[in-house]
Symmetry: C2
């Protein structure tokens, strides 16, 4: 998506360790107009897929999921990061690994809000190693929900997440795929 790539080039900041900071418009301060444009792009792709629910994970996925749910006219639901390893029976849970914080944690979703009746579009702001996304996909499997697509704002194409999720058979749509970042701050997108 052209507008997103241009915005990344204009306002994104590259830091050592392949860190891309886009917190001025995507995941700390939010540019709502850009977010709504991204939601429209996902809608164009999936509008005929019969989607009845948008799913994401807190916290930075919530804004894009809200925007996408709005254009689809369906509810959105977000998985929570659990503070406790003791999980009750009324939730689906999956263990994911945070590479940023070098530890495992659980994500949970109430069984009341996802079932085999649901046809889901999962969205998130970033895809890198894919650990969080695989946790969400596992929760959908547990619930018996259909996953019609995975929609990502920015994919780090040089990390394994995108490839693995595609190989698992899911339909992945990334609005911008960063192919390469150099330590002097240059960003190259996949065509």
């Amino acid at each position: 998506m052209k507008a997103l790539e241009e915005r990344i080039l204009k306002d994104g900041k590259v830091y050592p360790g392949n860190i891309l900071k886009v917190d001025s418009f995507l995941n700390h301060q939010i540019d709502i107009k850009l977010m709504d444009e991204m939601a429209e792009a996902f809608y164009e792709k999936y509008k005929d897929a019969g989607i009845n629910k948008i799913m994401t994970i807190e916290a930075s996925g919530i804004a894009i999921a809200y925007a996408v749910g709005r254009v689809f006219g369906v509810p959105m639901v977000f998985a929570k990061k659990s503070k406790s390893l003791n999980i009750g029976g009324d939730v689906y849970s999956s263990t994911i690994t945070s590479y940023t914080y070098k530890k495992d944690y659980k994500i949970i979703l109430s069984k009341n809000f996802l079932s085999e009746k649901d046809n889901v579009l999962i969205v998130d702001d970033f895809l890198a190693t894919g650990s969080a996304m695989k946790g969400l996909l596992e929760i959908c499997r547990m619930a018996g929900a259909k996953v019609s697509g995975v929609g990502i704002c920015i994919e780090k194409g040089f990390q394994k997440g995108g490839k693995e999720i595609t190989e698992m058979g899911y339909d992945l749509t990334s609005l911008a795929v960063v192919e390469e970042m150099t330590d002097d701050g240059k960003i190259k997108f996949r065509n």
Copy 2:
């Protein structure tokens, strides 16, 4: 706000310890149409206040803040709960107490996204003891930002937060104020 009160009566669940669960439409699964209606109510109240930024705290404030930012046509920014007590110099930070989890933690906001040029409407899904809200207000004070209003979806009127924030001189707008909840599940609203 009538539609919100009716929805709380219909789908809210009361649990011992004055817990009100509204996770089917407000803070786990999100009813986007209702959220947009709440945003319109805040807009009606504050549309002439010159607001240029909406502020909230992750995670469950993000959806309503997005909706409100959208109707105002301004960016929104959310404070983050810090995993580290070591906070760098490029953020404002404030310590707040979680009564749910019985511990203190820091909330942070990048200095890039709030300054004395900002005229802020702070919004959140819930107001009870007011600890998180006071943290957000302290960050606005540090930044020199003007706070034109505090907008809350559901206030627990029998807890101290609303009274204290009003006494601090802020203009508080709660769309539903729960005056009383009984252990048999009855909910009474303030007129």
